[in-house]
């Protein structure tokens, strides 16, 4: 019998659970992660199984959560800190960028923490429950950032993040939590290597480089373009944002010669800029057209569905942009 399909959220949950079982030094801390099981129920049942000492309900203190995780990690623990919504990580910005990320470099300290939390829009969360914080932390040597888009990678990356010797920011898109389902192999350990992009769809006319929720929108667009325009679109799911998998990006560019970068985050200062710069530096001669971006508009994310839909990139936007670029 085939294994049942599980959701993105369940896959993440399994990954966390398995690591808690495997390694006593793994523990969880965050707001309402214990008895309540977390705002999105990612840690549902964990307190019961692993005890309150390993699933710690904290005060509303994001800087303390991240700082305490760091201190414990110095001592050999493997803390997983939950932000109730990733938007609140801004309150730990100093701790994460200045203390945690620099610790190995400046002082030889080992700080293997994972900070994770629900991010992203398309869910009518308004400006403070929809953020994509990757750009703010992308500029932080010493930190790794992963952002799975599939259930398999949700599981594989949480496990790899916990085992990584360095601090990892693990971003989980709440629009994917229950929308994405997948069969995962049974009896085999699912581990996704950090630093490797995933070719989500092969193509030869044009590359879409993306991550997170827009992987799915890009795949939808690619299908449509295949059907309606006979365009063969490649979709690269970055999965790890820091460090970027330059090799995978350049491979795709060298094959298709045209690149569309798609992300849900706002345009200015978003990751597409850096990716554009890297392609430009490393594969300029391969470009048959400008590298173009499909991103959110440069505004705080508004609340009303009509506004949110306007601000965020939609499948149709990707289709139109890709068509334009293919015709360039």
């Amino acid at each position: 019998m085939a294994p049942p399909e599980i959701t993105f959220l369940e896959a993440l949950r399994q990954g966390l659970w398995e690591e808690m079982e495997r390694d006593e030094s793994v523990f969880i801390l965050g707001e309402d992660v214990g008895l309540y099981g977390g705002a999105f129920k990612v840690t549902d049942g964990f307190a019961k199984r692993f005890g309150e000492a390993r699933v710690i309900d904290t005060p509303i203190s994001e800087a303390a959560i991240v700082g305490a995780a760091a201190g414990a990690a110095h001592m050999g623990m493997r803390p997983v800190a939950e932000m109730q919504f990733i938007d609140f990580i801004s309150c730990a910005y100093d701790m994460l960028t200045n203390y945690v990320a620099t610790a190995r470099y400046r002082a030889g300290l080992s700080t293997p923490i994972v900070v994770r939390g629900p991010c992203g829009g398309y869910v009518r969360g308004g400006p403070f429950h929809s953020q994509n914080p990757e750009a703010a932390f992308f500029h932080t040597p010493g930190l790794k950032i992963v952002y799975p888009s599939t259930a398999r990678d949700a599981k594989g990356l949480i496990k790899s993040s916990i085992r990584d010797p360095d601090p990892v920011l693990y971003l989980e898109h709440k629009w994917l939590y229950r929308r994405i389902k997948e069969q995962l192999p049974e009896g085999e350990e699912v581990l996704t290597p950090i630093g490797e992009a995933r070719l989500a769809r092969e193509g030869k006319d044009l590359s879409i480089v993306t991550y997170g929720a827009t992987v799915w929108k890009s795949l939808e667009a690619a299908q449509l373009l295949e059907k309606e325009d006979q365009l063969s679109v490649e979709v690269l799911d970055l999965r790890t944002l820091l460090p970027l998998d330059d090799a995978a990006i350049m491979r795709s560019v060298q094959k298709t010669n045209k690149v569309l970068i798609v992300h849900e985050d706002t345009r200015t200062g978003g990751l597409a800029g850096e990716i554009t710069a890297r392609i430009n530096e490393q594969a300029f001669e391969f470009l048959d057209g400008p590298i173009m971006r499909v991103t959110a508009h440069d505004v705080p994310l508004p609340y009303a569905p009509t506004l949110e839909d306007f601000v965020l990139p939609q499948t149709e936007d990707i289709v139109k942009a890709a068509r334009w670029l293919a015709n360039y």
Partner: protein, 356 residues
């Protein structure tokens, strides 16, 4: 030792002071109006939520209406008087300060005509002239912001007061600490209402702090504090009145802890499975702020049953009318998302792929 004197005694929950706090009969009925309006409006929101007309979450203040209304009512209201900053459970405060039910409904339904034009949710909106400044979601941040408002009152020598709410959970944030300490050092005309409602989402006070009363936290800031029965409208009103007058006289910050109870979940989706059995029912039966207020009014002969049902009826009509006025209103046009990020440039660029 420099202990901070509690300026008022701590009443046990459920025992109300004997006076009617110097309120006139009209004022007392006015307060009743706001209490009932808060509750009725929230009930309407629940109905709209079930009809999926509310966008996103719905946050109730059931059981806490008393402290919201009483604290706001103790301020000076009108154009350019006192200013408060409500949290999601301070719908009552907002109504007292002059926000209209239809504005609240529009906010929750993200209508084009809502005060924030659909950009922000629920009580996250402002009218600084009327005297309210909406919060952002990040807990604690409004404390320093209100300190800045109170600082302006002080710099301009205006006899105005800033009032800001913080939940038992919110007191754990760094912003709460920094803002309150700054305000205390500057002796700003500011009142903090610490809402001890027994929960921060699912987290009980003993996991949030190691003191018994929130009022104890004030000692670290060198400001006076008082713990009052938050479901006793008169007591909360009196304590706030006292603090406001003190602040107006240049005596600085005052912390008021209101003991109350969040009878609904954190938001509508929360099934409250973490709440000990019977606790909610007990608070509902024995310690509902509206019931207690009504009993007091009647005891003191300040209202006949008819007065109250008249008000109830008026409110029902009002809320019906407000609902009818906006429920079918359109959501904002997508493109209206672009203007007003800055004064200049006046609008964000419309991205290229939208012009193809």
């Amino acid at each position: 030792m420099n202990a901070v004197p509690a300026t008022r005694p701590t009443p046990a929950i459920g025992t109300a002071p004997a006076t009617a706090a110097g309120l006139s009969r009209d004022q007392a009925l006015d307060i009743y109006y706001y209490l009932r309006l808060t509750r009725t409006l929230e009930e309407r929101l629940v109905a709209l939520y079930r009809q999926t007309k509310v966008i996103g979450g719905l946050y109730r203040s059931l059981g806490q209406e008393g402290e919201s209304v009483a604290t706001a009512y103790a301020l000076e209201r009108g154009r350019n008087k006192d200013i408060l900053s409500p949290l999601i459970r301070n719908l009552g405060s907002l109504l007292v300060m002059g926000a209209k039910p239809v504005e609240i409904l529009r906010q929750y339904m993200a209508k084009a005509n809502s005060p924030t034009r659909g950009r922000e949710q629920n009580v996250h909106f402002n009218d600084l002239e009327k005297g309210y400044l909406g919060q952002i979601s990040h807990l604690g941040d409004m404390i320093p912001v209100m300190a800045g408002i109170a600082l302006t009152f002080k710099l301009r020598r205006e006899p105005r007061v800033g009032l800001v709410y913080i939940g038992d959970g919110g007191t754990s944030t760094g912003s709460f600490h920094e803002g309150l300490n700054f305000a205390a050092v500057q002796r700003l005309p500011m009142i903090i209402i610490g809402e001890y409602n027994h929960w921060a989402y699912s987290t009980p006070p003993e996991k949030q702090f190691a003191v018994k009363d929130l009022a104890e936290k004030a000692k670290g800031y060198g400001i006076p504090a008082v713990t009052v029965d938050g479901n006793d409208v008169f007591a909360v009103y009196e304590a706030t009145k006292f603090a406001a007058e003190r602040a107006r006289r240049g005596k600085g910050v005052h912390f008021i802890e209101v003991k109350t109870y969040r009878r609904k979940g954190h938001a509508e989706h929360d099934d409250q499975h973490y709440v000990p059995a019977g606790e909610i029912d007990r608070w509902a039966a024995e310690n509902d702020p509206v019931d207690r207020y009504v009993a007091r009014l009647q005891e003191q002969g300040m209202a006949a049953p008819d007065d109250l049902t008249d008000i109830d009826d008026r409110i029902r009509v009002e809320v019906d009318q407000a609902t009818d006025a906006c429920v079918d209103e359109p959501l904002p046009e997508g493109e209206s998302a672009l203007p007003d990020v800055y004064v200049d440039p006046p609008a964000a660029d419309k991205l290229w792929f939208r012009t193809l």
